[in-house]
């Protein structure tokens, strides 16, 4: 609705914070006792609240405020962190997300009832615990009835206001905890009047606070600013002894000891504070280690995602590079045509340009690459919610987080991956009882893995569930007329492939997650639109593995330019193993089954591109043409073309944009002479070939 820059920044920032929040909530579910985690969550929520107030989104601020109340209770051990509360926290996350979405998406419907209900639930939680809260408070007070005096020096970060924090609120909060004895304002950071930037905070305040609250409580006040502001809290009780004496009613055991002359005050204070400190250290160091470990895991991902450039800009940059590649091809062609070919210097300069463009292109491409880790982590929540709904126990194992791929590709595979995960949970993983009966571990495992190989990216989703039910797939396929009774596929692989047919569903009942028979065919077409492919490997009671094969990038490929008849085609270099010029004796035609060629003892089927594409050719006899040995996964074929022009870079233009997806064609490219050539998609070409 609003489209100013500030709001944009807020939405981007909050989306990131929310993602972070979700991950932390998932961790919290596993380790509800982790105090550091709760603090981190509190901090995240608070930051959202602060920045939402800054951009004037009152609904968000108000709602988050409730959430903060709840977290405050948890943080102060006043509320037990049971699964119910964690669920509320998850709902809170969802609602904030909804609220933020409603800012950017027009007509986005917010479930107001759910929002109000959640607020009520939060209040219930707090109210119920309020009784115990008071009791706890008394205990807490008793524990440290002895007043302490702290000297607190706060050097606020100059950028403080930008985080939406109001220093005054901090002071008020402190004032509630005890009473100020002295307050000083340090002037040294305030610049000359003419240099003052009104949006910066130059405050340095030093105050002496007398309080009965424990040290932690004081420290908590500064929890949000201690990261970037300089906060020093010092226990100076002994310096203000007199002051305290006057106000003290009860005498403390330590004092009695002092009175009796057994120990000096200093000794006690020292002993006490040392003990507290070491105790605290112990706890801290353990927790810190734990947190550090986790940080390390995700650091590589987070550090890399720090620079924000809008995808539009990246796209523009990439397009410009693509245009550059085309223009260069044009220059190249002209030079070769104008018999300037002999000009050594010109050629050398052209090669230099070529090198530079390649470099530029690679760098731009790299900039578009992001690790898939963040996307994978996002699925944790999905798996958690789904497995709860289905009463199944599922463990999500994530591997290959650092594997990088094109941002555009990632955006386009999120939905297909989601769908396959749903399938794995819904159809794959069995109920805990079933699993134990089968002698499997009670909780199922789904593994998400990503890796690079042979210039492609592979993403695998593996579950250890019951595997695809061949019988039911076959039945369903016959029922829906996808296959006929007299033409039954025999191989497992072929039966598994059937799940990609539109309309096929093996689930008897329709659930929210699956059973509607739309899905795998959409997944497949989505993947193919990215010039990728998908394969299944399934074993009964062992599980199912889906493997996606995706190109590293969508925009520019290295290709081999070939000619058939009067038409140019580009074949991706990745798919080419070798070129071969056969002898007569090596060509065998198998009656009814086409031709084959023997290359160094290996028989490969021979296909003619002219036949596959029903176009004219100039070369009929394979001996006069050239064979290209192509591979896709473990399949190999040879393809007959008239001649080979040479290697060239091709900017991939989608045919789908203005036309449709075409089998055997990955897209089109614009040649140096301005004409269009088709880029061949080897994996779907093989499908035409073997049809």
């Amino acid at each position: 609705m609003l489209d100013n820059e500030l709001l944009q920044t807020f939405v981007e920032e909050s989306t990131e914070l929310l993602e972070n929040l979700e991950q932390n909530l998932l961790k919290l579910e596993k380790r509800p006792d982790d105090k550091e985690l709760i603090k981190e969550i509190f901090r995240l929520i608070h930051t959202i609240k602060g920045s939402s107030a800054l951009v004037g989104c009152c609904e968000i601020t108000n709602f988050v405020h409730h959430a903060e109340d709840l977290l405050d209770q948890i943080r102060n051990n006043l509320l037990e962190l049971n699964s119910e509360v964690i669920n509320i926290l998850f709902i809170i996350h969802d609602i904030i997300k909804d609220l933020i979405n409603s800012l950017i998406i027009a007509d986005y419907e917010i479930d107001i009832d759910r929002l109000n209900l959640t607020i009520r639930e939060i209040q219930n939680c707090i109210d119920v615990k309020n009784i115990s809260y008071k009791r706890d408070k008394k205990i807490a007070l008793k524990r440290s009835e002895q007043s302490k005096v702290y000297n607190i020096k706060v050097e606020f970060n100059t950028e403080l206001f930008q985080t939406g924090t109001d220093p005054l609120l901090l002071l008020r909060e402190l004032n509630e905890l005890g009473c100020f004895i002295e307050v000083y304002l340090a002037y040294k950071r305030i610049p000359d009047f003419f240099e003052i930037d009104p949006v910066l905070c130059y405050l340095t305040i030093e105050f002496v606070l007398k309080t009965k609250m424990p040290f932690e409580k004081i420290k908590d006040v500064f929890v949000f600013i201690e990261i970037d502001s300089n906060v020093k809290i010092e226990d100076v009780t002994k310096n203000y002894r007199e002051n305290i004496d006057e106000t003290l009613v009860d005498k403390k055991p330590g004092e009695i000891l002092v009175d009796k002359g057994l120990l000096s005050e200093e000794d006690i204070d020292e002993a006490l504070s040392r003990e507290i400190l070491t105790k605290k250290r112990k706890v801290d160091s353990q927790q810190i280690n734990k947190v550090l470990q986790e940080q390390q895991e995700s650091r590589s991902i987070q550090e890399k995602s720090t620079i924000k450039v809008s995808t539009d800009k990246m796209e523009l940059l990439m397009n410009s590079v693509a245009e550059l590649v085309i223009s260069q091809a044009r220059v190249k062609e002209r030079i070769s045509r104008k018999t300037l070919n002999d000009d050594q210097q010109l050629n050398a300069s052209l090669q230099e340009v070529d090198k530079k463009i390649r470099f530029l292109q690679e760098e731009v491409m790299k900039a578009r690459m992001v690790p898939i880790g963040n996307t994978f982590l996002r699925f944790r929540r999905l798996v958690r919610d789904l497995s709860r709904d289905h009463g199944k126990k599922v463990n999500l194992v994530i591997r290959g987080k650092e594997t990088e791929l094109d941002k555009m590709v990632i955006e386009k595979i999120v939905d297909p991956l989601k769908h396959m995960l749903r399938n794995a949970i819904d159809h794959g993983i069995e109920l805990p009882e079933e699993r134990t009966a089968l002698g499997k571990v009670e909780s199922g495992t789904i593994t998400l893995d990503a890796y690079h190989r042979e210039g492609y990216i592979f993403i695998e989703i593996t579950d250890d569930g019951r595997g695809l039910d061949k019988e039911r797939i076959r039945e369903s396929a016959i029922k829906r007329g996808i296959i006929s009774n007299d033409n039954l596929p025999a191989a497992d692989e072929q039966i598994h492939e059937l799940i990609f047919e539109p309309g096929l569903s093996t689930s008897d009942e329709i659930t929210e997650t699956s059973g509607r028979g739309v899905g795998m065919d959409v997944v497949k077409s989505n993947i193919e639109a990215l010039r990728g492919s998908i394969s299944i490997n399934s074993m009964e009671n062992k599980g199912t593995k889906y493997r996606l094969k995706l190109p590293l990038t969508l925009s520019i490929i290295d290709g081999m330019s070939v000619i058939v008849g009067d038409k140019h085609f580009i074949i991706p270099i990745n798919s080419i193993i070798e070129f071969y010029q056969p002898n007569k004796s090596e060509i065998k035609s198998v009656s009814g089954k086409g031709e084959s060629v023997r290359i160094r003892g290996e028989y490969l089927s021979l296909f003619r591109l002219s036949k596959l594409f029903s176009i004219n050719n100039n070369v009929e006899d394979p001996i006069n043409g050239i064979l290209i040995v192509l591979k896709d996964d473990d399949k190999k074929i040879t393809l007959l073309v008239d001649e080979i022009i040479g290697q060239q870079q091709a900017v991939v233009k989608s045919l789908e944009d203005n036309y449709d997806n075409v089998q055997g064609i990955a897209g089109a490219t614009i040649l140096g002479n301005g004409r269009v050539a088709m880029i061949i998609d080897v994996s779907s070409l093989m499908k035409i070939a073997f049809k």
């Binding site: 245009e323 085309i326 038409k567 140019h568 596959l612 594409f613 029903s614 176009i615 004219n616 233009k653 989608s654 045919l655 944009d657 203005n658 036309y659 449709d660 075409v662 089998q663 055997g664 064609i665 897209g667 089109a668 614009i670 002479n673 301005g674 004409r675 269009v676 050539a677 088709m678 035409i688």
Partner: protein
């Protein structure tokens, strides 16, 4: 020859210029296919270009002649003669490609000849049609009358449903196979570089 080409280019320049200046609704670019005059909403028209030989997309319906490079985009070219079920005719110097943008997609239509830019008032357009059954009204959104001319207005969205092309293709695939018609005049096919 050169003069004729220049003349042809000139007409197209004028038309294109007119196109660029038009913003009003109810203006139609009219063109001729098999002696009939057809019209499309001028606002959908991007440009009129000379016929250039498209690159064939393998295994596609015959009405889809292929793709060309239009301002760096790869766009499909549809032969309206084929699409409307007429016989193929040799492309000549009047043959042009009208580039239109519809529902975010850009496609080109090969037509026999462009004729005019006309404006009709709403009353001139008759939307309900009653033709004898041998005329396929699927692609027609209405008829417009101007003096004694009758102009058939094309439903452009229909051109985008490429799926239906396949059905069409299967029917006349057999009789038209390898019947690729090339432009008679080599001069026109050559790339403009």
């Amino acid at each position: 020859m050169v003069e004729k080409k220049a003349y042809q280019d000139n007409t197209m320049d004028i038309l294109n210029q007119q196109l660029a200046n038009i913003a009003a609704e109810n203006q139609f670019l009219t063109f001729i296919v098999e002696n009939e005059e057809y019209g499309v909403d001028v606002l959908t028209v991007q440009e009129i270009i000379r016929y250039k030989k498209p690159t064939v997309i393998p295994n596609t319906p015959e009405a889809v002649r292929g793709v060309i490079n239009f301002r760096g985009e790869v766009i499909p070219i549809i032969d309206l003669r084929k699409k409307f079920g007429f016989d193929t005719k040799k492309y000549n110097r009047f043959t042009v490609i009208i580039i239109i943008e519809i529902l975010g997609k850009i496609i080109g239509m090969i037509v026999d000849q462009v004729s005019d830019i006309l404006s009709f008032s709403k009353e001139d357009i008759q939307e309900t049609l009653d033709f004898s059954s041998d005329i396929d009204t699927e692609f027609i959104s209405g008829m417009a009358k101007l003096d004694d001319r009758l102009i058939i207005l094309i439903k452009l969205e229909k051109l985008l449903s490429f799926n239906e092309y396949k059905v069409l293709n299967n029917i006349d695939d057999d009789k038209n196979i390898n019947n690729e018609t090339n432009i008679s005049n080599d001069e026109l096919v050559k790339e403009d570089d």
